[in-house]
Subunit: 337 residues, 2 copies
Amino acid sequence: MDNPKYRKRANLRDVAKLANVSVATVSRVLNTPDSVAENTKAVVNAAIAELRFVPSAAARAINSGRSRVVGALVPTLDHAIFARYLAALEQKLSEYRLSLVVATTNGDASVEAQKAQTLVDIGAEGLIVSGITHEPELFELIERCQLPAVATSYFDPDFLLPTIGYDNAGAGRIALEYLLSLGHSAIAVVHGSLNSNDRTLARLKGLEGHDTARLSFFEADLSIEDGCAATNKILSRDDGPTAILCLSDVLATGVLYELKRHKVAVPDDISVIGIDDLPGSAHTFPALTTVHLPVVRMGHATATAISEWIEHGKRPSERLFETDLVVRESTRARTGI
Amino acid sequence: MDNPKYRKRANLRDVAKLANVSVATVSRVLNTPDSVAENTKAVVNAAIAELRFVPSAAARAINSGRSRVVGALVPTLDHAIFARYLAALEQKLSEYRLSLVVATTNGDASVEAQKAQTLVDIGAEGLIVSGITHEPELFELIERCQLPAVATSYFDPDFLLPTIGYDNAGAGRIALEYLLSLGHSAIAVVHGSLNSNDRTLARLKGLEGHDTARLSFFEADLSIEDGCAATNKILSRDDGPTAILCLSDVLATGVLYELKRHKVAVPDDISVIGIDDLPGSAHTFPALTTVHLPVVRMGHATATAISEWIEHGKRPSERLFETDLVVRESTRARTGI
DNA sequence: ATGAAAGCGCTAACAT
DNA sequence: ATGTTAGCGCTTTCAT
């Protein structure tokens, strides 16, 4: 604009020329400034300033062989539990001076495979995926690129990739058994979509094998709104349950709201339990009993694992985090027991 | 491992050698496959497969001068409104074949400046920041790198960077005026931290100049928990307000819960209004009256603007999205008016 | 249709 | 302390 001879971005050579030094010297003031004499340094810095020189990230990357970027593939960002997890992940990665690229898959494995390719195309040095259900292409990509990759939110020591997560089936079981121990047997289960969501599937699996339980199932999208909708379906049935087990706190939050709207008392008329333990769950009214999922610790551990793998080549071993029951006010013993 | 002569990642030359062609030909089968004879293509592809060749992102970037990465600096991921916004942003950016790197600042401008540098170091081609309050270093960096950068969640046509957002002061005003029109005058305002959060500041600003309003202010962290805490403070005062204006729906959600816990009827005893319109806000009990912030459209517009800027060099003009009042069930006319 | 060779912007080994 | 130079892995003329 105001520069007569419009010049593209300056490079090392331009700086070197202007400062009357070699490119090596310029490179040194950038990387090992202590090894350069004060006055030359000053001249070089002046040239850098004058030319508004900014080192090229790509050129650096090509030499170091590093991009310092890791990619995470998550179903969605628009869900508190993933957001929370990613927040922890990003925070820890940044301690390792690694940046986080987020790609959302919408729970679609083929989108995931395609976005994984995009991540490789921008030079991601590591990949983090959710769950263990993926397209073969994803695994081929990881294999072909020899890419450090871990699967999270799931635990399976036999999985191809190291898993860092928790026992989803166990979380479901804990919730169910607590309800059972409270004397409930007619229980409505509200769960997220079964399409390509192994976490939901596993939680459901954890509900099996309890003869005393009379379970009815209600599928819903993972939103407060759908929690409300599921509640209406539950209430419209003759054989009303005495407890509602939600496989996710978001769902449970909707259930709580809708029960309130119908003037159904919780936990007096119906007990409600969730899984997740979102930040808000401790403060709903009534406070939600739930199974705590250690997503923050999982995020930190994942960041550490992938960093170590990238930096030192050591493949992490799988890692299991405990889930635990958090009893609050939305559950109580079945009356008349 | 099982490869006798352990070989590092293969490159174009290795492939060319194995396929008995030149590197140019290999490059062609990668980029313009139609310009290569079928049989040579087959030979080359076989070599690529055998050597498990993966093109280097850095080397591509150095030639194209592109990284296809844009960076976003947000206060936190762990808040529904930002997560929702980023979800929209990422979705649209990916349509432009751009990847999103997320960096969180914790609302700290100096962390922001430092992370912006990190983003530049990995070769980000564009930057997206939140609000208009930043360290001089941030602006210097943007200026020095001639980096396309936009500020979001805020609107100010006079700002150095193009702003793409909404009128925060206006949103505050809309909420207050609605409460006023309902006959409320003693109003408690619950707002987020004032530290380097120009959005909160602006919303507060929008509350000024209404003589009939008797406002009392309560600062809180942006969490359901702190919404509850603020409510307790409000209720403990003698001169109880007839309405509570929350500058964020998360806060309002906490307020709603806590009022319920204290058996204060909403909206009969106290009206509650929020700002944001989170997905869940339509389904709280009672459903929350709030001011809708068009973060999804803002995310899409931001993605489009930064993409066009990066690809075609056209600096976007600022963009203002309307906020609008969504009347639901948590507000009503002050009784006895 | 294919190849040879010149870079892209930087780092690092080797000289001086 | 500073300079020379050879790459890094690819794309892209320019020939053939």
